[in-house]
Subunit: 269 residues, 2 copies
């Protein structure tokens, strides 16, 4: 392992590519190995035990690729498994929750912050915990939005049905008068325009993917792990199922040509 | 193994309990062992290889319970894995697709039949294949409805959003003038009222769960496997994750007291 070793990034499926995209933009020299658990997606309705078990298998797999750091791109895995896994691996590892929470705490003026995410992320209460650690005066309004992921996957990004669901989920939050809203699931930035239209321009939408890439850059710099070789970056993609679907989604999200993904028997790790 | 041995029933999650309910009603003397793969749900967007692998693991597990027959309560697993598994097990095994197709073919007068289901079930073309085997003159209109399962799981059974989604998915089918519609996913019978309202009273909605219980009864009778002990039936429930969620759903669907489910490490089978 050295500074040219890749960064391992993983997610429950394809949504984590929004984090990969930000890393490509903010750290263009870094090599990456991505794993998407497309066979067992979604994680958002699963228990802590199961998400932890799946995350451990993925970390085992990524470590066969001689990675120098790990990014948990999935909000649910960051919420339910990061603490344990941090204790088990010797390389730096970051999730998306802490960077997202930090940014929201910086941007709020009213100290009222909204959080939306999967059922398991919201139930974990982890965003609230981080926010209150930063500033005990912050009021947190949280809401699980289980229909957002299937709506995004159906491609209904600009659609009356999606607008209706947004209103259903967010009207209480809007009435409460939050001024920052954490998009606590990798799929949600894909409907940020519709959410923005409903919540109004004065509510700052926080995209943890962006903040995570920023934190990763700082972390690598601190540890002397930035890749300064000047070689052009190499990317490898692995999934547990459905190579074609992965390619279709990746082509939409990523700004570069995407090599076909390789299927991994993740249960054997 | 004898006539008092239980019937093994499995599904990708909790939806298969609608099939269990029909078996309880039509075969009240039969013991049952249910397995719901709640850790890896849903199967509807997964590839054939993955669904086959998961189904084989479940069949392995069920066979440790000395079952006398297997019911594949999941439409996707019936569509993608039943053929292979049939060749691999020595006991009778049935899925939900063939009974559903047979009923639809019996009930149509116009020979125009609609099928709705998950992406993988529809893509497999298996309902069409069975229907055309029964009657080559039948016209089949099929449509994947990926939002129906999350809407049911959100509890939006009677809701304007669900009505909108139904219209979006089914308006072409309605214009086509089908007179029978197969509800090709275990969750769909839970929104049958809303579907009926939209499609109109003249369209016969076929619930494969009901037809499957009927076929099972015939099959057990043919093979001399009916339980005629007169003892009251015993039911056991196993899941791969989320015992509490299972209990909540089971309490809504099943007409009897439901013992707590036991978690199984299904990947080890």
């Amino acid at each position: 392992m050295n500074t040219e070793s890749p960064i391992g990034v993983f997610d429950s499926g394809v949504g984590g590519l929004t984090v990969v995209k930000e890393i490509m933009r903010q750290l263009p020299g870094e090599n990456m190995v991505y794993f998407g658990d497309t066979a067992r997606v979604p994680y958002g309705s699963k228990s802590k035990n199961t998400v932890l078990k799946y995350s451990r298998q993925i970390v085992q797999f990524l470590q066969t690729k001689e990675i120098k750091a790990i990014v948990v791109a999935c909000n649910t895995a960051s919420a339910l498994a990061l603490d344990e896994i941090k204790r088990e691996v010797a390389i730096p590892i970051i999730g998306v929750v802490e960077p997202g929470a930090r940014m929201a705490a910086e941007s709020t003026k009213t100290n009222s912050i909204g959080i939306i995410g999967t059922e398991s992320t919201i139930k974990s209460g982890i965003y609230s915990k981080f926010l209150r650690n930063i500033n005990p005066e912050i009021t947190v309004v949280s809401r699980a939005c289980p229909l957002f992921v299937p709506l995004v996957e159906e491609g209904l990004l600009e659609d009356r049905i999606t607008d209706d669901v947004i209103e259903r989920y967010l009207h209480e939050m809007k009435e409460y008068g939050i001024d920052a809203l954490i998009l606590g699931c990798t799929h949600y930035p894909l409907i940020r325009n519709a959410i923005k239209r409903y919540m109004g321009g004065e509510v700052h939408l926080v995209n943890p993917a962006y903040e995570t890439a920023k934190s990763l850059k700082l972390l690598l710099a601190e540890q002397g792990l930035l890749n300064q070789s000047g070689n052009s970056a190499m990317y490898e993609y692995y999934v547990s199922d459905g190579v074609d679907k992965f390619s279709t989604f990746a082509a939409k999200v990523l700004p570069c040509h995407v090599e076909p993904a390789v299927v991994v028997d993740i249960e054997s790790y």
